[in-house]
């Protein structure tokens, strides 16, 4: 063996060693990083439950990298398998995050549906309460007359003397009637006009009828179907008080609204 070949061999060996040294450092770092990563996913019970396969693959790749690191000249293989191991760990963690999010989303979805139902219920309840309240108000304004059903009286003060048009002060009560009829869609009404005995009979019949009609018109304008409204004018018939006194006459000038029962059965007209 010549000196030349010895020197060459030494050079090659030194080159190998230095290469191995660099590669060895790099692979050692990669191995450590992958090992740390694997450790964290391995100890996470959620990851183990949700992505066990990825954890196993991370472990297998890591073991392979570890085994290769004891061989000469296998630096790039070590780095490669450490890389794969790390990726598997990261994938396991992502899958876990996603699955946990989905689990939470499923719970939130149930909560959302529960709240939606509760909201619908509370809205419904408030409408019902409102309806009930309104019904009580209407009942308070009406006088139950067994032979004619529920009757509400709109007094003389809601009209100007001799005029058929409703005053704006009647708005409140008219709106209440409209709401009541909207909440009770099967009820119908008969609107009856009356006057006192002052003036001619024909004139009184006409005035009583047009007052009743003007109430009906307002109800229709506010959305009540005309098929639910009957209009009658009775002139000075059926007084509720004496016509001899001013107070009595004022009582007699009136519009009465007769409500049907809930099934739409209206008492016979007079």
């Amino acid at each position: 063996m010549s000196l030349r070949t010895k020197a060459l061999g030494g050079l090659i060996l030194a080159g190998c060693a230095s290469l191995y040294g660099c590669a060895g450092q790099r692979s050692e770092a990669a191995l450590q990083q992958a090992g740390a990563e694997f450790q964290t996913v391995k100890e996470d019970s959620n990851v183990l439950r949700i992505a066990p396969k990825d954890v196993i693959r991370a472990g297998e790749s890591l073991a392979r990298a570890d085994r290769l690191s004891s061989y000469w000249g296998s630096g790039s293989d070590v780095v490669h398998y450490a890389y794969l191991s790390q990726r598997y760990s990261e994938i396991a963690r992502e899958h876990t995050k996603q699955a946990l999010n989905d689990e939470r989303a499923a719970k939130l979805e149930l909560e959302r549906q529960r709240l939606q139902l509760a909201l619908r219920e509370s809205k419904l309840q408030s409408v019902q309460q409102q309806g009930k309240w309104l019904e009580e108000q209407i009942l308070a304004l009406t006088t139950a007359q067994t032979d004619r059903g529920l009757v509400m009286t709109l007094g003389d003060m809601l009209f100007d003397t001799g005029e058929a048009e409703l005053k704006t002060s009647a708005n409140r009560v008219v709106l209440k009637i409209v709401q009541f009829l909207q909440l009770n869609p099967r009820r119908v009404v008969r609107i009856e006009g009356y006057t006192d005995s002052t003036g001619g009979r024909q004139e009184n019949l006409k005035l009583s009828r047009s007052r009743a009609q003007s109430v009906a018109d307002v109800l229709m304008d506010l959305g009540i179907a005309d098929s639910r409204i009957q209009v009658e004018g009775y002139g000075d018939d059926y007084p509720v008080d004496v016509n001899a006194t001013e107070r009595g006459r004022a009582q007699n000038r009136r519009v009465e609204i007769v409500f049907s029962d809930e099934k739409g059965q209206l008492g016979a007209a007079r």
Binding site: G73, I91, E94, Q98, D102, A105, L108, L119
Partner: protein, 118 residues
């Protein structure tokens, strides 16, 4: 006799071993599939660094395949496959987070309305 020729022979054998890696056709197919799957859920190289890595490595693996450098092709394709799978998983996680945010705002709105109603 020295053992040096033996070393040389072993090195040659090792090199030959590298060179005689079989063509990783199956792995290339797997990687391509993983890339397709990732882009199907909306992973793009533009906003996913893992996706960019996957595409670059897969392209280099294809180059290695035509050079018949099969070991490099296999390693790059294997890495690219996992890069793509990670990109896919991250996109899905992001989507699930967006879903959670949406649900949270909806629930907050419902609670507010319920509070107002009471």
């Amino acid at each position: 006799m020295s053992i040096r020729p033996l070393f040389a022979a072993m090195t040659l054998v090792a090199l030959a071993g590298c060179a005689s890696d079989p063509a990783p056709n199956e792995q290339m197919r797997l990687t391509e599939q993983a890339l397709e799957q990732a882009s199907a859920v909306g992973a793009t190289a533009a906003d996913m660094p893992e996706m960019k890595l996957a595409e670059d490595k897969f392209n280099r693996a294809k180059g290695n395949m035509s050079d018949e450098s099969f070991k490099n092709a296999r390693m790059r394709a294997e890495q690219a496959e996992l890069d793509a799978r990670l990109a896919e998983a991250k996109v899905l996680t992001q989507k699930s987070e967006e879903q959670l945010t949406l649900l949270d705002t909806r629930i907050a709105r419902l609670r507010k309305q319920l509070g107002d109603a009471q």
